[in-house]
């Protein structure tokens, strides 16, 4: 197996891991977003709470969630490692640089954008994921069955303007991260072909703008509902 560890620890292999985990996280974003729409049902949170219970009890989804945790950890740890070793490749910098003339801002700041998203992730997991699993959150009963009332926890959080502000800023960071990351992942996988490049770029840009925007709009709607 030395060939495998050798390949994975090379500069190309580390990028491959970033691309594969990144694409998996992109798929996860879609699933997460579809779930979030349950928050907008005007049913006092019933649809969302039922959905939340399903997501934390279904064995298939639980198994997938462990894969997801691992994916997040690999993407973050390998990302930090790459940024650090890339910095080492240029110990003495330039006095004058004009990066904006040859590359996009987001492509040069993936580490910074990733850091913002990571900080968001810690806050986000503490607010909801931790509370759902280990926090003492109130329960409600629908048709005689007891459910954790995650909807009320969410609605309470999104009635605070500063939490909504953090979420909105973080989603803007995610927008820029995906703006480069989506098509970059395909390039790293070696999928570069004049026939498909416009499609990959187009879908990537569309995804980068639409998905974070939809994520951000839900807390904003809930904030206005609370006032």
């Amino acid at each position: 197996m030395s060939w495998f560890t050798n390949a994975i620890s090379s500069s190309l292999g580390r990028k491959l891991l970033m691309a594969l985990t990144g694409l998996f996280l992109i798929v996860f974003l879609v699933v997460h977003l579809i779930g979030n729409f349950q928050l907008l049902h005007h049913d006092g949170g019933e649809a969302f709470n039922i959905y939340a219970k399903f997501m934390t009890s279904n064995p298939l989804i639980k198994t997938t969630s462990y894969l997801l945790y691992a994916t997040f950890i690999i993407h973050i740890v390998w990302g930090i490692g790459l940024v650090m070793s890339n910095k080492k490749a240029r110990p003495v910098g330039y006095n004058v640089t004009k990066g904006s003339t040859n590359s996009t801002w987001s492509s040069r700041n993936m580490g910074l954008l990733g850091t913002i998203i990571f900080i968001f992730l810690v806050i986000h997991l503490k607010n909801f994921w931790y509370e759902m699993h280990w926090g003492g959150i109130p329960t409600v009963a629908y048709a005689g069955e007891s459910y954790n009332d995650l909807y009320t926890v969410t609605a309470t959080a999104f009635s605070e303007w500063w939490i909504v502000a953090i979420y909105t800023v973080s989603m803007i960071a995610l927008m820029f991260h995906l703006y480069h990351g989506f098509s970059s992942a395909f390039q790293t996988l070696g999928l570069n072909h004049p026939k498909y490049n416009p499609l990959i770029k187009g879908v990537g840009y569309g995804f980068a703008i639409i998905v974070p925007a939809l994520f951000a709009v839900i807390p904003i709607i809930m904030f206005y509902q609370s006032i």
């Binding site: 030395s2 060939w3 495998f4 050798n6 390949a7 090379s10 500069s11 190309l12 292999g13 580390r14 990028k15 491959l16 790459l82 070793s85 890339n86 080492k88 490749a89 240029r90 110990p91 003495v92 910098g93 330039y94 006095n95 004058v96 640089t97 004009k98 990066g99 003339t101 040859n102 590359s103 996009t104 492509s107 040069r108 993936m110 480069h180 098509s183 970059s184 390039q187 790293t188 996988l189 070696g190 999928l191 570069n192």
Partner: protein, 249 residues
């Protein structure tokens, strides 16, 4: 035209170095950037000062020796080599900052001269064909589609100047290595040793201390030969394909 030059001066690889300012008053806009440096060096020598060391050779844009990082871009504002950059690309009264390539793998030897032998070691690790190809074959004996021949030739136009490394925020040599892998991987003569070649060249590239690729595209945008990012995608395909299928452990 009048030009203010801020040039990186560094006595040797141990010296810390700094930017030194020079005023030039009588520069023709038809001069190449290197000829402007020749004028400056003549003036310095007349004053008994050490001339600025810089790499140059063919002055025809084909050798890739003239490494200068000019006003924040390798080879200056035009997508060409420094020798093919003319003073008319600047305005009268401009201040121009000239620095050496910056990369761990390209240590500064003196002033603007860096040691680019890391590229030579990457080539020695596999950038060649060692099979005996015999005498000159008849035309079209080995059928190669025109498109493939063109792609291989485009990759082969890489002059190994190092602008890709200089431009990359990670000082990555990915564009150079991908061009050198591609020019051979596309052709039947090169395919024979293809897997071992890409494995060895990537290993050597990493050992030299070049960074990884973030796909910013800065390398290709600054490459005087316009080497395409498609080559980096091909390098990725060749490398992972080789790692999965080659006999090397």
């Amino acid at each position: 035209m009048k030009i203010t030059l801020k040039v990186w001066r560094q006595k040797n690889d141990k010296d810390k170095g700094s930017l030194v300012t020079y005023q030039l008053d009588d520069i023709s806009e038809d001069m190449s950037f290197l000829e402007m440096f020749d004028v400056l060096n003549n003036q310095l020598e007349r004053k008994g000062e050490a001339p600025i060391a810089f790499d140059h050779d063919c002055r025809e844009g084909i050798c890739g020796a003239c490494s200068m990082y000019i006003n924040g871009k390798p080879h200056g504002p035009k997508q060409t080599t420094t020798c093919q950059l003319h003073m008319r690309s600047f305005k009268d009264g401009d201040t121009i900052v000239v620095e050496p390539w910056r990369a761990k793998a390209f240590p500064v030897i003196k002033d603007l001269v860096v040691d680019r032998s890391a590229f030579d070691r990457v080539i020695s690790s596999g950038g060649y064909v060692s099979v005996n190809t015999g005498g000159i074959p008849d035309a079209n004996e080995i059928p190669i589609p025109k498109k493939i021949a063109d792609e291989a030739f485009d990759a082969a136009t890489c002059i190994g100047c190092g602008a890709c490394v200089a431009a990359c925020k990670n000082a990555s040599a990915m564009l150079f290595v991908s061009a050198k892998v591609s020019q051979l991987a596309l052709l039947p003569q090169g395919k024979v040793e293809g897997k071992t070649r890409v494995e060895n060249m990537v290993a050597q590239m990493d050992e030299e201390g070049f960074g990884a690729c973030t796909n910013t595209g800065a390398c290709s945008a600054e490459c005087p030969k316009g080497i395409s990012l498609e080559n980096i995608a091909r390098l990725n395909r060749e490398y992972f394909g080789a790692k999965a299928k080659s006999d090397n452990q």
